[in-house]
């Protein structure tokens, strides 16, 4: 009897999945984030549609990926009495921001092949595969991931996805102040009993506003003008400071 019940449940699962009436969708397909001096907390909303079941039956993994870039990883080597950075290894086209959020630990939700294929979790970012010899992971990879996680640029958030009410869920991530600007991709994967049922993607535009952003833009786009302005501001500030204290 009990075995029958499990079989029935399994059949139902397959049935609903095949039926393709379960879908996951983000409510906004384009979100503007205004990161200011202190960084931003990002919250995205989505819903699982086409199900009557309890939301507890599902798991969701969301992956937010920022623009990519190349990175140098240098080992520190002892030369004589001091430590010097040695020759760099280059990690190409790695995301400059990566955040995974999930309802539960990813290992409990998705099978390993899925994790590798869809790059679920910081450890599965495909670009980070320096000198991969099949089995042995190169220490550079771990060092790179460590550094990115320390900066808040890479993060895995267990519990970062949670069902709010019924089939409505939220995805949360913390964008540090040094978050790169640009186009981000959000991928959402819906799982039940270790099987991916559906997925959805959305785009996210991260902009920065305010004085801090203007300074950054000016410094990088018109560096000479910025330099001259720095001198002018310094001269003015120094002069004002001098006046203020001469009178006192």
């Amino acid at each position: 009897m009990r075995r029958f019940a499990i079989m029935l449940a399994a059949l139902l699962c397959v049935g609903t999945a095949r039926g393709a009436d379960i879908a996951v969708a983000l409510t906004d397909d384009r979100v503007e984030v205004d990161a200011d001096f202190s960084g931003a907390d990002l919250t995205l909303f989505g819903a699982v549609t086409g199900v009557e079941d309890d939301a507890d039956a599902f798991d969701i993994i969301a992956v937010i990926t920022g623009p990519s870039g190349d990175f140098n990883v240098r080992p520190l080597e002892q030369r004589g009495i001091i430590w010097l950075p040695g020759d760099p290894a280059i990690i190409k086209d790695a995301p400059r921001f990566y955040a995974s959020s999930a309802t539960r630990p990813i290992n409990d939700i998705a099978p390993l092949p899925d994790q590798a294929q869809f790059e679920l979790g910081v450890d599965n970012i495909a670009a980070v595969d320096l000198y991969a010899d099949g089995d042995a992971a190169h220490p550079f990879n771990a060092a790179f991931l460590d550094a990115q996680e320390t900066d808040g640029h890479y993060q895995d958030r267990v519990g970062g996805v949670s069902f709010v009410k019924g089939a409505l869920f939220t995805i949360s991530a913390a964008l540090p102040a040094s978050t790169p600007v640009g186009d981000y991709a959000v991928a959402v994967y819906l799982y039940r009993d270790g099987v991916m049922i559906d997925s959805d993607t959305a785009e996210l535009r991260v902009n920065k506003v305010g004085l801090e952003r203007r300074i950054y833009d000016l410094a990088h786009q018109r560096p000479v003008l910025y330099g001259l302005l720095c001198v002018a501001v310094s001269l003015l500030a120094g002069w004002i400071a001098g006046l203020a204290f001469r009178k006192s």
Partner: protein
């Protein structure tokens, strides 16, 4: 409260930065030094990337020198003629310094390079100051110093293009001021210092300039050369964080006023011995940071 610095790309506590500015301002007011050679290492200790610390410090020195330069110009204690040659050499030195800085940045060794430069300079200057002030403290306080001769060294007398510098009362070749300016300009670019601690003794003992114009002329050179270095750093490396500079300046002007008052209570030799100890302490910290096994055995940096 936390503020994100756009160029340094780190989040800092503005009160800590203002306090840092005030502390170094206090010391520079007390000892009558620029303070760049203390501020840059302290910024590095706080976590500001060394390249940004250097570029930003150049702009802060511009700000903190303005009132001094104006005061000296009013009092006519600036030798503009010799100062012009110093600035000419300094500008060229700043450009060369930027190229050296850029080279080390490209090969990824700029942080170590800056630290080593500081260890060498702070170590040498700290030791010299300490020895000199200890000798002075141990000597009879009334003992008179041998008077300086107002004559140039022989090697300077044989140089060409001898020019009369009226305010300094010198008749020397402009080559030594240009070379001196050049060396100090290089330091300004590479280390983010004004270089007064080298310029002033060099003016006194090598160029034989009279004491009353030395500080003003040195400040005159510093403000031009650090301004040039600021523009060069901004243009070549994008490492000038004006927000950081302004916060440091805010603390700096206040600290300098308090420091100047505190400095009047101490004797010159005591002051110099104290400054020497501070300089050596900063030097030691930089050295240990280089020599001790680092926390993280890897450096990760974006290449683009």
């Amino acid at each position: 409260m936390q503020i994100y610095l756009p160029i340094a790309e780190i989040t800092v506590d503005p009160f800590v930065i203002v306090f840092l500015g005030a502390a170094v301002g206090f010391l520079s007011g007390m000892f009558g030094v620029g303070g760049g050679f203390l501020m840059t290492p302290l910024l590095i200790f706080y976590g500001v990337p060394p390249a940004v610390a250097v570029g930003t410090e150049a702009s802060q020195i511009v700000a903190s020198s303005v009132s001094g330069v104006l005061a000296h110009l009013r009092r006519k204690t600036v030798d503009l003629h010799i100062g012009g040659f110093l600035v000419a050499g300094g500008g060229a030195g700043a450009v060369v310094g930027i190229f050296i800085f850029r080279y080390f940045r490209e090969i990824g060794q700029i942080e170590v390079f800056i630290s080593i430069a500081y260890v060498v300079f702070l170590g040498a200057i700290g030791l010299l100051m300490l020895m000199e002030s200890l000798r002075a403290l141990l000597r009879e306080p009334t003992a008179k110093r041998t008077r300086r001769k107002h004559r140039s060294a022989e090697w300077m007398a044989v140089m060409p293009f001898a020019t009369r510098f009226r305010r300094s009362g010198l008749y020397i070749s402009p080559i030594p001021p240009i070379v001196l300016g050049f060396l100090v300009g290089m330091l300004a670019s590479i280390m983010g210092v004004g270089g007064g601690f080298i310029m002033v003794p060099a003016m006194l003992y090598i160029l034989n300039m009279p004491t009353n114009v030395v500080v003003g002329t040195s400040l005159f050179q510093i403000i031009f050369v650090t301004a040039i270095a600021t523009v060069l750093h901004a243009a070549a490396n994008q490492t000038v964080d004006i927000l950081l500079a302004l916060m440091l300046l805010t603390g700096g002007v206040i600290g300098a006023q308090i420091g100047a008052r505190a400095g009047r209570r101490l004797k010159g030799e005591q002051l110099r011995a104290l400054l020497a100890l501070i300089v050596l302490a900063v030097c030691a910290r930089l050295f240990f940071d280089l020599a001790l096994p680092p926390d993280a055995l890897f450096v990760v940096e974006p290449t683009s």
